[in-house]
Every structure is written in C-alpha cells, then in structure tokens.
C-alpha cells in the first residue's frame, strides 16, 4: 500500500489539478485506505461549499453611480474629416459674410476665387515642372559621379594588389576610429566646459 496522500493533494484532486499519474495513484490508495476515503469525503463537502458561496448583492443603481462618478472622456482625437469640415464651414461663413458686407453675389465671389486659384496654379505649374527637370539632371550627375568613383576605386585596388589594399583599408579604419574618438573627446570637453 502506498503512503497516505497529503491533504493538499486531496484538494488538488478534487479541483482536477492533480496530474493523471498522481490522480491514479491516489485513487488506488483510496481503495484500500478508509481513513483517506473519509478525509476525501470531508474535503469534498467543504470544496462544494467553498465553490458555492453566494455572490454579494449589488444595489440596482450601482453601475449608474459608478458612471456618474467618472470624469468626462477626453475629446476624441480629430481625424482628417474634422479639419476638412471645419475648413469648409469657415469658407462658407467667410463667403456669406463677404456677401452680406459688400452686396456682391455669391456666384461672383466664387468665380473670382476660382479665377484667383486658376491663375495661381498657372504660375506655379511651370515652376514645378522646371524643378522636377532640374532634380532629374542632378540625380543623373550624382549617379555618374558615383560610377566614376567606383571605377577609380577598382583601378586603384588592382594597382595596389591584395596586400596593398588591406594595408590601405587598415589605415583608413585606424584614421576613422581616431577621428571618431577624437571628436567624442572634443565634444565631451565642450560639454564639461
């Protein structure tokens, strides 16, 4: 006969928290141990009572009183629609005000605004096209310069050979490290002073 289980194991068994192997072992033990059967029956009744304790009553208006005590929610973050609507509303108010003050009809105002916007676009468009063309030319020049640089580097490494390239790379690396640390030190001194 196996030794009697600890009371903790009895609770875990009742809660289904004991592993299958341990549960089987315990069941086997229970078959031949009346004391443990009694102990288990007692814990079973207690377990039943533990798990069926009545819930606390909550007064009807509790949720309402909680909601009333909450602060007002933060304003919902405006998306793109709100500024657009606000702009449209401001424009409408502006046009209406202009009409009321000057007596000019709304249609005339709209035509004038349209004409102004059209002339602005007509002036800006050629400038934008020229800027784009210039950007294209600049990109081509930079690309050509980079290609030339790579070609020159290739020729240089071929002339130097493997050992020479390694030596030059090592020197460049050393100079870079010295420059970085020198700059950091310089900046650090600057902060201190």
């Amino acid at each position: 006969m196996t030794s009697c289980p600890r009371p903790e194991e009895l609770y875990l068994y009742l809660e289904g928290e004991l592993g299958p192997y341990d549960a089987r072992k315990l069941e086997e033990h229970l078959e031949c141990c009346a004391a443990c059967r009694d102990a288990l029956a007692e814990r079973r009744l207690l377990h039943e009572a533990f798990t069926s304790l009545p819930p606390f009553e909550v007064p009807d208006g509790f949720a309402r009183s909680v909601m009333d005590s909450l602060p007002e929610p933060e304003a919902v973050k405006a998306g793109w629609l709100n500024p657009l609507l606000a702009g449209a509303a401001a424009l409408a108010v502006g046009l209406l005000g202009f009409y009321v003050l000057t007596g000019t009809s709304l249609v005339e105002v709209l035509v004038a605004v349209n004409g102004f916007l059209g002339s602005a676009v007509a002036r800006i468009a050629p400038l934008a096209v020229k800027t784009l063309k210039l950007g294209g030319v600049l990109l081509k020049v930079v690309g050509d310069l980079l290609a030339l640089g790579f070609e020159g580097l290739g020729t240089f490494t071929r002339l130097l050979g493997r050992e020479g390239t390694v030596a030059v790379l090592g020197l460049v690396l050393l100079l870079t490290i010295l420059a970085v640390f020198g700059a950091r030190r310089f900046l650090h001194q600057g902060e201190q002073s």
């Binding site: 009697c4 289980p5 600890r6 009371p7 903790e8 009895l10 609770y11 875990l12 928290e17 004391a35 443990c36 009694d38 102990a39 288990l40 029956a41 007692e42 009744l45 207690l46 039943e48 009572a49 533990f50 798990t51 069926s52 304790l53 009545p54 819930p55 606390f56 909550v58 007064p59 509790f62 949720a63 009183s65 909680v66 909601m67 005590s69 909450l70 602060p71 929610p73 933060e74 304003a75 919902v76």
Partner: protein, 186 residues
C-alpha cells in the same frame, strides 16, 4: 474575453456606454471579491467604485494580449494593499508558515478525525465558512476568494498577485485547512 477587448476599445474611443457594460459585467464579481476579503459590504461597494474609476482612468495602459478580468483584479488587489497599508493592518509574509496559537495548522498527513462537516448541511457549512473566513489572515483570505469565489485559475491568480503558481497553490491550501480548523473549533 474578445468581448471585453471590444468594449475596452470602444470605451477608449469615448463610448461611455461600452464602459458601463464593463461595469455591469464585473460589478458583482468585483464586489464579491472585495466584500469577502474586507468583510464589509459598504466598504466593498466604495472600493469597487474607486477601482472602476482607476480602471477607467488607466484604460490606455491595458494591453489586449492579457485578460481584462486579470488586469481589473490586479488593480483591485493593489487597491486593497494600499488600503491595508494606510490602516496599518498586519500583512502575511509569503515565506512564513501560518501557525495557530495551539500549534501547527497544517497536518502533513490526511487527518480523518471526527468529521465536523457531516454535522451540518451545505447551507450551514457555507454560513460557517463566511464567519470563519473573517478570522483567516487577509493575505490567505484574498487568495482563497480569488480561487473559490471568483473562480480564477491558479495561473491567473499568480498573474494578479505577481507570485509563483506553486506559492499560490500552497497559500490557497493553507487558507482552506485553516478554515476547516476554525470551523472545527467553532
């Protein structure tokens, strides 16, 4: 669980109705937990209100990959700890075994003894548990309530309390055996 996440997401967008649904869903489990742990119904209702307010104000810190109930009860548990600290109530050390005045509480072998529970019907036992629960140290009582009243798994309780699962299991067991002993003595 998904429903909770959706409600939180709606509440974060300013939908108060969604948060009210959360309050209605958790008002009873939360009050049962607070009431059983503090032993005072009115205090439990006040605490519940404060905890819902805390939850509402820190809703943005809730991470949806965790269960909302676990997050809410973590706030509740911390709220109680603060309350006990303010009132300077004795707290239970996790590392110290709980002992009764008459000696060790936890028998290491099954102790059949004179069966006390058979003397009472289940309803009577519940009443006795309610009374005995008040005399169980607050730290143990809280874990017992989370496990058996709120029906959290041991893993969830470990998460709420920030304790190892083994410690939680052991503490819940201690609470149950202590209750049994107190009922026996009554």
């Amino acid at each position: 669980m998904t429903e909770d996440r959706q409600l939180v997401s709606r509440a974060l967008k300013g939908d108060r109705k969604a948060f009210e649904m959360i309050v209605r869903k958790y008002e009873q489990p939360l009050t049962s937990y607070l009431g059983r742990v503090t032993g005072e119904r009115e205090a439990a209702l006040d605490f519940a209100q404060e905890i819902f307010l805390k939850a509402y104000c820190s809703l943005r810190s809730y991470r949806p990959d965790f269960k909302f109930s676990t997050w809410l009860f973590k706030i509740a548990s911390n709220h109680l700890i603060d309350h006990w600290r303010k009132k300077k109530l004795p707290t239970v050390s996790i590392d110290q075994p709980i002992e009764e005045e008459d000696g060790e509480v936890l028998p290491q072998v099954a102790d059949p003894g004179p069966s006390v529970v058979r003397k009472f019907e289940l309803a009577e036992i519940r009443e006795k548990i309610e009374r005995a629960l008040k005399s169980v140290p607050a730290g143990l009582r809280e874990l017992f309530v989370l496990r058996h009243v709120n029906e959290f798994s041991y893993e969830e309780i470990a998460d709420i309390k920030g304790l190892p699962v083994g410690t939680v299991k052991n503490r819940v067991f201690q609470a149950k055996e202590l209750l049994r002993k107190r009922m026996e003595a009554a």
